[in-house]
């Protein structure tokens, strides 16, 4: 399996403050990888850094390589990135109302990417391809939807349109940043199905960012757990979610499962996610961790065969043999 996306030592900084540090990840062709973490853990910044879309004032370090393009995407200029974005790699954002242009018709927005990347040279051809795509993503009466404006569609329909735009040029890599967080569960189920089918049909790589463990387990094969701007655990979904090693992962699993203790209370992780820059030195989780000792004051090293499998914890959860 060839790696479509390979990031090594990726970091995001603003001034002296490190927001994301030392993220190493690969996503192979046809592979579905989840990136999970709570708000403020740096997962969206990681996605923006991969796409070269960091807002002003933030800069990325490390290296990001897309299979088949020689340049390192970190530090690449706009001329190098523009031909890749929307063609080789594309993104589905969380909030479809802000991702779509409110003053443009749906059909034109879908066609825009195909025209820019010369998939179709004639406007009419691109438009009819756009209608086909809208049909593919399951919009009812696609020809009518193509003439509509974003505000005339429901949230789920808008997210289908955003997915259609992202899939328009058959990208090799699709990055989804919380694509279903704003949607109802029934609509979420349909959009998740649409994304996984779209990715499978194109044999594309999928990087799926979410805070919902149930969604990751449904969609992804592999998962990376992020906290405090660092990857703290990684591995196959079945492995990480049934036998977590990092204390944060096991706490997150218990909290999201709404598991109960013997006295009927729900299991929690004490404290709350610190502000950016307020994470402790050493292990980023140690100020909320029950197992923390003075050994956690130095940065724990990665334990595992490769960056895709392992954990960074001094006192990992014991696994029954």
């Amino acid at each position: 399996m060839s790696a479509v996306l390979k990031a090594e030592g990726l970091g995001v900084h603003t001034g002296d403050l490190a927001l994301v540090q030392d993220v190493t990840l690969t996503v192979g062709r046809g592979e579905r990888v989840g990136l999970i973490g709570e708000s403020g853990s740096g997962k969206s910044l990681t996605a923006l850094a991969l796409m070269g879309l960091l807002p002003e004032g933030l800069h990325a370090t490390g290296s990001v390589r897309l299979d088949g393009s020689p340049a390192d995407l970190v530090g690449a200029d706009e001329d190098e990135l523009a031909p890749l974005r929307g063609k080789r790699m594309s993104m589905v954002f969380q909030e479809p109302m802000t991702a779509l242009n409110p003053t443009m018709r749906i059909g034109d927005q879908v066609a825009e990417g195909m025209l820019l990347h010369r998939a179709h040279r004639r406007r009419a051809a691109a438009r009819s391809a756009a209608v086909e795509l809208l049909d593919d993503v399951g919009l009812p009466s696609p020809a009518e939807a193509a003439r509509a404006y974003p505000h005339q569609l429901s949230g789920g329909q808008r997210q289908r349109v955003v997915a259609a735009i992202a899939l328009a040029n058959d990208p090799d890599l699709l990055i989804c940043d919380e694509p279903t967080t704003a949607l109802d569960v029934t609509v979420q189920a349909l959009v998740l199905d649409l994304i996984t089918r779209g990715v499978a049909a194109r044999d594309a790589a999928l990087l799926f960012i979410t805070h919902d463990l149930g969604v990751v387990a449904t969609v992804c094969d592999r998962v990376l757990v992020m906290y405090g701007g660092r990857i703290v655990e990684a591995g196959e979904v079945a492995q990480v979610f049934t036998r977590p090693r990092h204390r944060y992962t096991s706490g997150l699993l218990a909290a999201s499962d709404l598991a109960r203790t013997d006295d009927g209370r729900l299991l929690t992780i004490p404290g709350s996610v610190p502000q950016a820059g307020a994470f402790p030195a050493g292990c980023v989780f140690r100020n909320r961790c029950a197992a923390a000792t003075s050994a956690c004051e130095t940065l724990p090293s990665w334990v595992g065969p490769d960056p895709e499998h392992g954990h960074a914890c001094v006192h990992p959860v014991e696994v029954p043999a």
Binding site: D184, R265, L266
Partner: protein, 331 residues
């Protein structure tokens, strides 16, 4: 709803005990499923919130000079009986009318027709100035603690505000007691909302709600803006307070799995109607209505996903959901 007995009751005062029980029998017989008959009857002895055929219609802006604007029904005849001390959940998807229903129960909105009784008193016809008793008895925790706390007020003023508004004394000892009861320290009182994390802000909202010593706590999606690791903390706090102060809890959420852990009884709403009502475990494990089944089937769950349930399976479950053509756009 063509049943003549479902006609809106005039806002009558203090009905006698016999008519009250006759009324609740009528409610029970009008309910949608067999389960709700049992639960409505079980709840009627000490019901603290009673809704009868509550309807709410919103009028869209007119499109023509000659005709009034079209009417959008947000609630199409909701009949509910919530017992004192009960933990009651309301679930449904956006646009189903659950927030409208909560606003009507809280006296922040008025039904177009139907009757709303809280602690035996009719509230739907009352003027704002006469709802003081309701503000004493019932308090609200809203979804987004950032927008429901005034950013320019200190925490102690936020917590004291329900008392100030009612013209009640608000000694510092009481405010300290309130803030400590939600797990914050007294030095939080001099700070502003932006200095707190999302979970702590929601604790401040809860402290404010508890200030007038209410009997009923309404919570509108209180944890959906929170991180997973903090969500359970806030749920624990709500449950602990409800138990300690013996409150009635009405918990509105789109997330059936959260409601399941908080509430004893749940009503499932779709398009302005209660389609299913019953004990939470029963509704969750053996949903009787196709809509509830699809709602449950669409929840991505860790355990079932690890057993091999894919997105396609979820979608197949969700596809059974019938989306009404005229979803009102509120909520």
């Amino acid at each position: 709803m063509t049943d003549p007995s479902a006609a809106p009751q005039p806002p009558s005062q203090a009905a006698s005990q016999t008519t009250e029980s006759l009324e609740s029998d009528a409610i029970a017989s009008r309910s949608n499923s067999g389960d709700s008959v049992a639960s409505a009857v079980a709840g009627n002895e000490s019901s603290i919130i009673r809704l009868q055929d509550v309807r709410r219609e919103f009028r869209r802006p007119r499109r023509s000079l000659l005709q009034p604007g079209p009417v959008v029904p947000a609630l199409r005849g909701v009949t509910l009986d919530i017992a004192a001390g009960e933990r009651f959940g309301i679930v449904g998807e956006s646009g189903c009318g659950k927030s409208t229903l909560l606003r009507i129960i809280a006296g922040l909105d008025r039904p177009t027709s139907g009757s709303v009784q809280v602690a035996g008193r009719e509230i739907s016809g009352l003027r704002e100035g006469r709802l003081g008793f309701l503000r004493d008895q019932m308090q609200l925790v809203l979804q987004d603690p950032m927008s429901s706390l005034d950013p320019r007020m200190r925490v102690r003023d936020i917590i004291a505000e329900p008392l100030v508004a009612q013209g009640k004394p608000h000694p510092r000892t009481r405010i300290v007691e309130l803030v400590e009861s939600v797990g914050l320290s007294a030095d939080a009182l001099d700070r502003y909302p932006h200095q707190f994390s999302g979970g702590q802000r929601q604790r401040i909202s809860i402290a404010r709600a508890l200030a007038p010593d209410p009997r009923i706590l309404l919570a509108d999606e209180p944890v959906s803006a929170l991180d997973v690791s903090v969500r359970a903390q806030v749920l624990n706090l709500i449950l602990e307070i409800v138990e300690r102060l013996d409150l009635t809890l009405v918990f509105v959420s789109h997330d059936l799995s959260v409601v399941r852990h908080v509430c004893e009884r749940v009503a499932v709403m779709q398009a302005g109607e209660v389609v299913e009502i019953g004990p939470t475990d029963q509704v969750y494990d053996e949903p009787a209505q196709p809509y509830t089944r699809s709602l449950v089937a669409a929840i991505p769950h860790l355990r079932t996903a690890l057993e091999g349930r894919t997105a396609a399976d979820l979608a197949a479950g969700a596809a059974a959901a019938t989306v009404p053509p005229d979803r009102p756009g509120e909520n």
